[in-house]
Every structure is written in structure tokens, then in C-alpha cells.
């Protein structure tokens, strides 16, 4: 019963396809295809033939409608209307291939989910992956435009007397009696036998660099200010005899680094300490303040 229905369906499809074929070959194709149908065994083979005949009708009709073919075949009858045909259709057209690919993708998806492969894969993924903790990137405030910054950086240096006699061997060779002392305690006098010299502590001198050139860019953007105490040892010509050291932090690493750079860059521009007017090597500290002022 089922075979009979399949055969009827295939027959109807073939008759329909043949009717749509060009009139010159419609009757011939119908009989030829029905004879072919009779030789086919199996429902699938018959349906495949019927569908193929429908496709063949489309191809034949398209070939028949090509103008040059119609012209060339006009004088020779229907037998020659394919004469100038220059192409053959491939076994599978592009549309057929596309449909097959789509159908194949669906079948693959169904198989993946039905077979449990997707679940197994989801269990494997965490074993393959390695978690990496990424610190939250906190949004930074947009940097201000420097050209419109309402502040101006200036250098302010405070000289502080942090003379450390333990670190510096100050040789004092003067007379037994002090001639003049600027650092005498008020209202008092030096004990007998202690030499007295006029000692003027050094510090940043002429053409000393300014903090404006060393103000950290990041600190400038966030209007960060601060003051750091640096300790320097300066010879009689105003040059550093060693690397400056930080004696008191400003609380900001950026400001501290900038202060040390500034102190190092000032070598040669220091005003040396004088004793009785004579430049001597000495160590002293001073404060470098980074401020943004109007």
C-alpha cells in the first residue's frame, strides 16, 4: 500500500514536471521519464527520480529560453535547440550545497546535544581554563589640560641647618680666642679655649634649578604638593661630594624622587659654607617644597 502511494506520488511529480517542460519536448519527456520510473525499484529511488525530473525540467526550460538557442533551433526544429549550449549544471548546485550545509549543521548540533558531548565538553572546559585574578582597573580622573591649569609651579627652598658634625670632620684651626662668632648663644660667651669662627652655612645658590622643571607630571595633574628635606655635602666650589640623601620624606614618593633629582641637578650651583669667609666643605640639609601657586 505504501509502495503504491509512493509510486503514485512519484508519477504525479513526473507528470507535473513534464507538463512544465517546453512544449516541443514535454510529451517525449513524460513518456521517457515514466518508462524510467517503471524500471526503478524502491520508494526512495522513485522519489529521487521524480525530484530529479523536476530539476531537469527547470534546467531544460532555462536552456530552451536562451535567445541564441531559440534562434539557432528555429530553422532546424526542436531537435537542435540545445545546439549552442555552452555549460552544464554541476552535480550539486550552489543552492543545494548551501541547503545541505545548513541541514548538516543542524544535524551536528542535534547530535552534540543528544549524545551528551556538549555536557562533557562543558565539564572539560573548566579544567583547561586557568583563572587569572585581574585587579579592578579603577577609573582615573581625566587629566586636566595643562594649558588651562590655573596654577604655576614655583620652587621654594627653605634652608635648614641640619649640620651633622658626626658625618663631617670639620677642622677648626684658629686662635685660642674667638674673634667673632655669629652662632654664639645669646647673652652668653664661649668658654675659654674654644675657638670661635664666623661660619656661614651654605645652601642653594645662584642659578639653582627650580622645582618647576622637576615637578612630577602626575603630581601636577592631581595638584599634589609636598616638601622633602634633603641632605647634601658640598665642597668649597659648590659641587656635591656625594649623592644627596633624603632626611625627611614628604609623604609622596613622587615628590621625594623629584627633590633628590633637583638636589643632584643643583651640583655646581650650591653656595658653599664659609668659615671666616673661606669656602669649606660641609654638609647641610635644606627643604625643597613643591607647591602650586597662582
Amino acid at each position: 500500500m505504501k509502495t503504491r502511494n509512493d509510486q503514485d506520488l512519484a508519477r504525479r511529480l513526473i507528470l507535473r514536471a513534464a507538463r512544465k517542460a517546453p512544449a516541443a519536448v514535454a510529451q517525449r519527456l513524460e513518456e521517457e521519464w515514466l518508462a524510467d520510473l517503471a524500471s526503478r525499484q524502491g520508494s526512495l529511488a522513485r522519489l529521487r527520480l521524480a525530484i530529479g525530473c523536476s530539476w531537469a525540467t527547470a534546467v531544460i526550460t532555462r536552456d530552451f529560453n536562451v535567445p541564441q538557442l531559440a534562434t539557432s533551433g528555429a530553422g532546424n526544429g526542436p531537435k537542435h535547440w540545445f545546439a549552442d549550449h555552452r555549460y552544464d549544471l554541476p552535480l550539486l548546485s550552489r543552492r543545494t550545497v548551501t541547503l545541505l550545509l545548513i541541514a548538516g549543521a543542524h544535524v551536528l548540533l542535534i547530535y552534540v546535544f543528544a549524545s551528551g558531548f556538549a555536557q562533557q565538553f562543558s565539564l572539560i572546559i573548566p579544567q583547561i581554563m586557568h583563572g587569572v585574578v585581574i585587579e579592578e582597573n579603577r577609573p582615573q580622573p581625566p587629566p586636566p589640560v595643562l594649558s588651562t591649569l590655573p596654577f604655576k609651579a614655583t620652587v621654594i627652598t627653605d634652608i635648614t641647618d641640619t649640620f651633622d658634625p658626626d658625618r663631617f670632620d670639620l677642622t677648626i684651626a684658629r686662635g685660642d680666642e674667638p674673634k667673632h662668632a655669629t652662632d654664639d648663644p645669646p647673652g652668653g660667651s664661649l668658654p675659654r679655649g674654644v675657638p670661635a669662627v664666623v661660619r656661614v652655612l651654605g645652601g642653594p645658590g645662584r642659578n639653582f634649578p627650580t622645582t618647576e622643571d622637576y615637578y612630577p607630571t602626575a603630581s601636577r595633574r592631581i595638584s599634589e604638593t609636598g616638601a622633602a628635606n634633603v641632605q647634601v655635602c658640598v665642597d668649597g666650589r659648590g659641587y656635591l661630594t656625594g649623592a644627596p640623601t633624603l632626611s625627611k620624606s614628604s609623604g609622596s614618593p613622587r615628590i621625594d624622587d623629584a627633590a633628590l633629582k633637583l638636589a643632584r641637578a643643583g651640583s655646581g650651583h650650591y653656595r658653599p659654607t664659609t668659615e671666616d669667609g673661606t669656602p669649606v666643605t660641609s654638609c647641610y640639609g635644606y627643604r625643597i617644597r613643591f607647591e602650586l601657586t597662582d
Partner: protein
């Protein structure tokens, strides 16, 4: 007819059809026979048969049987023409495959 033969484009499917006929050039084959030998789909096979026939490579005729007597429609039988045989042999030679034995 010669001019028309020259314009036939030879595709892989066309070669398979010709190969089926060249196995025994004097044989007459119906579409179902060619399909069995080439395994081409009917949607590809019948347009090729018609093109080759209209180009003069094949001739066809109806099977000389009475449909009422045999209980089925007549088959359309195709056969290579002499010019079609020559052209097919030339095509296979040019492809380097040689004429099928």
C-alpha cells in the same frame, strides 16, 4: 551540425555520460541504463542527454515495443552517432584518459 558540436561544453558529468556510451559504442542505452552506469542524478542526466542529442552526438528513438503488451511506457534509446563517437574519442584523448575499452 559540425558548428553545433564544436560549441558543446564538456563538463565532468558529460564525460561520465560519454564514457558510459563509449564502453560499447554500438549499444543503445535508455536513460535508466545510463543512470545506472554513471550514478548521475536524473536532474543532471536528462539535460545532458538532450544537449548531446541536439548537438548531434547522439541519436535517439523510441523502443519498438507495444506499451500495452509490455505493461510499461516505451523507453527512449540513445546511441552515439559516428561524428559523436569521433568527437567523444577526441575529447577523451585530449584529456589524456584515452578511449574506454
Amino acid at each position: 551540425m559540425g558548428k553545433q558540436i564544436k560549441n558543446v561544453r564538456i563538463s565532468l558529468q558529460t564525460l561520465r555520460v560519454l564514457e558510459a556510451f563509449l564502453e560499447n559504442p554500438v549499444d543503445e542505452l535508455a536513460g535508466a541504463d545510463v543512470q545506472k552506469r554513471t550514478t548521475l542524478a536524473s536532474g543532471t542526466l536528462y539535460p545532458i542527454l538532450l544537449r548531446l542529442e541536439s548537438a548531434g552526438w547522439f541519436v535517439s528513438r523510441w523502443e519498438a515495443v507495444d506499451p500495452a503488451h509490455v505493461g510499461r511506457p516505451r523507453r527512449r534509446l540513445y546511441r552515439l552517432t559516428p561524428s559523436g563517437l569521433a568527437r567523444a574519442s577526441e575529447v577523451f584523448t585530449s584529456f589524456g584518459r584515452g578511449v574506454p575499452a
